[in-house]
């Protein structure tokens, strides 16, 4: 068995816990003592009803939020204690993000959106344009590069978001309910595309969903309920 890519050890997240004084309402526990390992090349779904802690778990893994208790290790390196700039650089190198609401930058074209992580990495203009067009080709949008997000359909916007998430070859793509705003046909197409990228290019995908159709495509499914890991299916 290879070393885990990501390790969560007794990780808890309580909202409103910091600065709580005597007599104040207790914080809301979003995750409670989770211990999970993720390996490179996984195509893993985090399932559970709304409020079960799926988004919180992805946020903690992606270091855009910090755990209240416990430890997260990435390639056996502790990430919890990193500073703001170090965390930003870490995310830039290791993660790609896909959000439920697409979250593309509306004033940039599709290809400029895809390019943005490479701009932050300081990749030269010509190289980043070539890599962005290649990423758009992977998601089947090579002809839509010059369009702004408002001229793309929801499915197309989410595919641009996937291209932006993979363009800089991250170790892991974290996708929070990526199909929630899409119709079932488009959702299935997006899932197939993600699965294809996972198989062909070895990109690790961790995504959340509560849609059984989506979950059926995952090779590993973690079920969360009330912030606790209920069971795991492989």
């Amino acid at each position: 068995m290879t070393e885990p890519l990501i390790q969560l050890k007794h990780v808890s997240k309580v909202y409103g816990a910091a600065g709580r004084g005597r007599g104040e309402a207790p914080g809301v526990t979003a995750l409670e003592k989770l211990t999970i390992d993720f390996h490179a090349g996984e195509f893993t779904a985090i399932a559970g009803p709304s409020g079960s802690g799926k988004s919180t778990l992805l946020n903690l893994i992606g270091t855009i939020d910090a755990p209240t208790h416990g430890e997260i290790r990435f390639q056996d390196r502790r990430v919890s204690g990193l500073g703001e700039d170090e965390l930003a650089d870490f995310r830039l190198r290791q993660f790609g993000f896909v959000f439920q609401a697409y979250n593309l930058i509306p004033v940039l074209t599709a290809v400029e959106n895809v390019e943005y992580p490479l701009v932050l990495q300081g990749v030269p203009r010509a190289e980043r344009r070539a890599r962005s067009l290649e990423a758009l080709k992977w998601v089947g949008l090579e002809r839509e590069g010059d369009r702004r997000p408002d001229l793309l359909s929801g499915g197309q916007q989410q595919r641009v978001a996937v291209a932006r998430a993979i363009v800089h070859r991250p170790a892991v793509v974290l996708a929070d309910e990526p199909t929630a705003n899409l119709d079932s046909k488009t959702a299935a197409a997006l899932l197939d595309m993600m699965l294809d990228l996972n198989k062909k290019h070895g990109i690790t995908f961790l995504f959340s969903s509560h849609d059984p159709v989506v979950l059926s495509r995952a090779r590993r499914v973690l079920h969360l309920r009330d912030g606790k890991l209920q069971d795991e299916a492989v």
């Binding site: 946020n59 992606g62 855009i64 939020d65 703001e84 700039d85 930003a88 650089d89 995310r91 830039l92 190198r93 993660f95 790609g96 993000f97 959000f99 609401a101 979250n103 930058i105 509306p106 004033v107 940039l108 400029e112 943005y116 992580p117 701009v119 932050l120 990495q121 932006r164």
Partner: protein, 404 residues
């Protein structure tokens, strides 16, 4: 970064255009105000130095009252030699200026009597250009050139004789008859009613001051090099019992007016800057609140806090630079227009009481101060954007992404 900042600026084009318009109006108003004040100051200084004070004066070392020097100098030739060899000096003349009395058969009046060299004075002062009737001093014996209001008050006309009295060097009163050869009109009550000009030679005779004068009046080629020239003259004349005084020392009231106007200008500028800053602050904060989720996305995908700080500051700087450039264009057009057409200034009548002053101002550019204003607007736009920019930089990505 620049591309993103530029496009962000035009997300809400109406709001950005309104902010740009307010900055442009502010800059144009500042430029116009600067030009107005500086033109008034320029004219005040030009008139004051041009009609009577000169840029620099040389007086006896013992003089205490620079405006009305109570001591006179002998050995004028030595001073003349130094001044004549100084390339920075455009023109100069020895002069006697004393307070005295002038009387006609009907009335008398206290006056400032100025004895000038009629040949050289037109190059040193502009008094000869205010001739209304008759002629300027020609150099003949006991000629008198006076203001038309004084002539009216004394009930005299061109060609009439007047008795001019002043204090002689020995303390006694010297008096002589002078004939009016010319009347002038400057528009200034102070000049037209209380200053009269005679030839230096005649006044020296009347006051028993042959070979003496109580001031050398100097006009410089480059008035802005006043201090430099003063220091040079001090070195050149250090062996003589004289002192050098610039118009700023001789006419401190004028310097006071200048300082007062500059202070008012600064207060007005500060108010305009506050208005500009509040406009920018409002625009940047509005734009920030609309993009909180977007900042969260940028942070999530790896933008450092400094990237967002720079992004917001760049957008604000662009607003400042664009608004400033538009303001300079509008301000320049206004100044150019009123520079050619002239701006009627009712205040000019008040100022003209003390000095000859044009009541129609032809505005002038004053680029050093305009540049300061433009830089201040850009700096203001950056400072105004700093609080929202810092806020954007400090926001936690997860909190931003949860923002509705």
């Amino acid at each position: 970064m620049l591309l993103l900042a530029w496009r962000n600026l035009w997300r809400n084009s109406r709001r950005s255009l309104l902010t740009l318009a307010s900055i442009a109006c502010g800059v144009a108003a500042i430029m116009f105000g600067q030009s107005l004040i500086k033109t008034i100051q320029y004219q005040l200084i030009e008139k004051a130095t041009g009609v009577i004070t000169g840029h620099i004066q040389i007086q006896d070392r013992r003089v205490k009252e620079l405006k009305y020097p109570e001591k006179s100098m002998a050995g004028l030739a030595a001073i003349e030699r130094v001044l004549a060899s100084d390339p920075a000096i455009d023109a100069f003349e020895p002069r006697i200026a004393v307070t005295g009395l002038v009387s006609s058969t009907k009335d008398c009046s206290g006056v400032l009597i100025v004895g000038v060299d009629p040949r050289r004075d037109p190059r040193v002062t502009t008094m000869s250009t205010y001739l209304r009737q008759g002629s300027y001093l020609t150099g003949g014996p006991r000629e008198l050139f006076m203001g038309d209001q004084l002539a009216g008050a004394l009930g005299v006309r061109l060609g009439d004789k007047l008795v001019v009295m002043g204090q002689s060097l020995d303390g006694s009163m010297g008096a002589d008859n002078y004939r009016i050869v010319g009347l002038y009109h400057t528009g200034s009550v102070t000049f037209d009613k209380s200053i009269l000009y005679v030839t230096l030679a005649s006044l020296q005779e009347t006051l028993a001051m042959q070979g003496r004068a109580n001031q050398f009046v100097i006009r410089l080629r480059e008035p802005e090099r006043l201090q430099e020239e003063r220091e040079r003259l001090e070195r050149a004349l250090q062996a003589l019992p004289v002192k050098i005084a610039t118009w700023r020392e001789i006419d401190p009231e004028l310097v006071g007016v200048q300082s007062y106007q500059n202070a008012i200008l600064k207060i007005v500028l500060a108010i305009v800057f506050v208005i500009v800053a509040l406009g920018i602050l409002n625009t940047v904060f509005m734009s920030l609140f609309e993009r909180v989720r977007e900042f969260g996305v940028l942070k999530a995908i790896g933008a450092r806090p400094g990237v967002l700080l720079r992004l917001v500051l760049t957008e604000s700087c662009m607003l400042g630079v664009l608004g400033g450039a538009a303001g300079v264009a509008v301000g320049s057009a206004l100044i150019r227009y009123y520079g050619e057409e002239g701006l009627p200034l009712p205040l000019g009548d008040t100022l003209a009481y003390f000095l000859p002053f044009e009541t129609v101002l032809h505005l002038r550019f004053d680029w050093p101060t305009h540049r300061e204003a433009l830089v201040a607007v850009v700096v203001t736009s950056l400072l105004a954007a700093l609080p929202p920019a810092l806020r954007a930089a400090r926001m936690k990505p997860a909190e931003c992404l949860r923002h509705r």
